[in-house]
């Protein structure tokens, strides 16, 4: 029983990060049909800027805010300098642009920061808390709590504010949204900024557990993308569920099946789900009427 709890906490913690990355994918995808493969780099920026800012003597909360601000600026710049000029290009072209941007950001990070791994002390210390025989790092609660706040905040924003409705309208039908006066170009910029902020927050929260370096984004983007596909690309709820399920599958796979096949277990389940539900768990069936 303590093992199960240990595996669940471990899976939920890493799953929450996957979910945040998947949310970033979803937001941008909804506004533009683009899968932004630079999403992982926002996570990297969040972690790395915080590490270097705290090392320079800036207190942690300020450093975290600075990191989010840097990531948002980079996200907006990515939109303004790379996506906006290619407006009207096919989604595939835009996706390739984001892959290029991701490689570029990693290269710049390598020069601006360095190539080594870095750690950040846990926000509430590194001493584990014992819960029913499972040792849980206080940082896990930070990750889960932070993710929960982002999920709720995003939900309220999308459902309760006019701006949020505009984002949803753009996602539902861009042309119709434009016809009723939604500035879809602004919505797209907003999506990039928001995705960058969420990604950076994930990076800040997870760094005390997993360490960070200039290239941590690659794998997280891949896992986040898998989570978004599992949940159904385009559904924020799907992204959250997909991320948590992927994290749990990995932890339980490593704990109960075999650590050698833990990624295989996770991806097998994803394949099985997509095979029977090609739109993902929460995706909408795209039916076109003629």
């Amino acid at each position: 029983m303590p093992e199960l709890l240990q595996f669940l906490v471990s899976g939920l913690t890493i799953g929450a990060v996957y979910a945040l990355v998947a949310l970033g994918f979803t937001l941008i995808h909804n506004a533009s049909d683009v899968v932004n493969f630079a999403q992982g780099e926002f996570v990297m920026l969040g972690g790395m800027v915080t590490v270097f800012a705290t090392a320079a003597g800036i207190p942690l909360p300020l450093a975290a805010l600075l990191a989010i601000a840097v990531a948002v600026l980079v996200g907006l710049a990515l939109h303004r300098l790379a996506i906006e000029p290619a407006r009207g290009a096919s989604a595939v072209t835009l996706i390739i642009i984001t892959i290029g941007a991701s490689i570029f950001l990693r290269g710049v990070a390598q020069i601006v920061f360095d190539k080594r791994f870095h750690q950040l002390p846990g926000f509430s210390g590194n001493d584990p808390i014992m819960v029913l025989g499972a040792a849980i790092l206080p940082q896990s609660f930070w990750v889960l709590g932070g993710a929960l706040i982002v999920f709720c905040g995003l939900f309220l924003f999308l459902e309760r504010t006019l701006m949020g409705k505009a984002v949803l309208a753009t996602a539902a039908n861009r042309l119709a949204a434009r016809l009723v006066g939604v500035d879809t170009s602004f919505v797209l910029a907003l999506s990039f900024g928001l995705s960058a902020a969420i990604g950076a927050l994930a990076g800040i929260l997870i760094t005390p557990i997993t360490l960070t370096s200039f290239d941590v984004g690659t794998l997280l983007a891949l896992k986040g993308f898998a989570a978004a596909m599992l949940g159904g690309m385009g559904s924020p709820l799907g992204a959250v569920v997909g991320g948590l399920v992927l994290g749990l599958l990995e932890a339980l796979g490593a704990g109960y099946v075999s650590s050698a096949y833990k990624d295989a277990v996770a991806f097998l389940v994803i394949l099985a789900v997509l095979f029977s539900m090609p739109q993902g768990l929460f995706g909408h069936r795209s039916v076109e009427r003629v």
């Binding site: 471990s10 190539k115 791994f117 590194n126 997993t210 650590s259 050698a260």
Partner: protein, 388 residues
Amino acid sequence: MSLGMILRRGVIAAGAFLLAAPALAQRAPEPIRIGAVLSVTGPASFLGDPEDKTLRLYVNRINQAGGVNGRPLQLIIYDDAGDANRARTFATRLVEDDRVVAMVGGTTTGTTLAMRPVFEDARIPFISLAGGIEIIDPVQPFTFKTPHTDRMACEKIFADIRARGLTRVGMISGTDGFGQSMRGQCVRVAGAAGITIVAEESYGPRDSDMTPQLTRLRNAQGIEAVVNPGFGQGPAIVTRGYHQLGIRLPLYQSHGVASREFINLATPAAAEGVRLPAAALLIAEQLPTSDPQHQVVLDYKAAFEREFNQPVSTFGGHAYDGLMILVEAMRRANSTDGTRLRDAIRATRGFVGTGGIVNMSATDHMGLDLSAFRMVEIRNGDWALLGN
């Protein structure tokens, strides 16, 4: 001016330059080209970065002191980012385009094995900086290595476990080349060392959480100690998880993490009591002055830390050993011919490096014995030399 004229002038200028180039080159002695393919970035940047810095630093120093046999050294370094495919491409480029006379580097066992055939075919000496024993066992005519092998690390660790009166060991290994190679060697020598391996787990080189695997190890029947073959940030995360779960069994890391960065990443509290076999360089100040390596390791450490303002690691030391063995061989052979150079490297006797005393032979292309390893324990965020 018409386009044609511009083009013609350009061609004439280029032609004149080409004619002038050999004349210029004749004045200064032609440099000796030494190649290096290192994993300066990527998951093995831990190792590749200090190697890169060390090679640049010492090639500069050697050139300032007049070079080798009256010729300066020219170092050509490529970064394979830990990717064996890229390493092989760069190796081919070093041989075919850059025409190097020798090669120092190959940061990981994976990249080294990918590059080895290129240098063997070209009959160019290749001194690898990677740990895997399969690099030199069986002996390849032109391939050497400077670091201790993972088999020696396993033997050293198992001897220490036995000395504590323990025999039942669990292993958690990285799935990268280093982790898998060392795991294989540990399994192979376990029986002879009187060790029983009771449980085995693994993790991916980029995994961010190992607590599920460690939980399984903790619950394994009769387990008395844990060995973690791996390098990079993986062992740091394993060590953190070990501390988080409050596992009290002795934890052994490999020589793959012998750098101060490991203690920082794992945090001193979690790393307390972790033991690992390491080269003398790690505990340079603690070596008695009577130790033959005392002066060499102190000099290298001082030079590296003054230049780069970052703590020395044994991996940079491997690069120092490789370069110095090569330079000494070039001086003895007074030649850059591949086969003669190889024979001279093979004839290395009593070379005192940062990794140990090197005695090469036709059947031993590494030249180190178990005495080159020192067992250290991490205490209060620092290394402590255990009585060997």
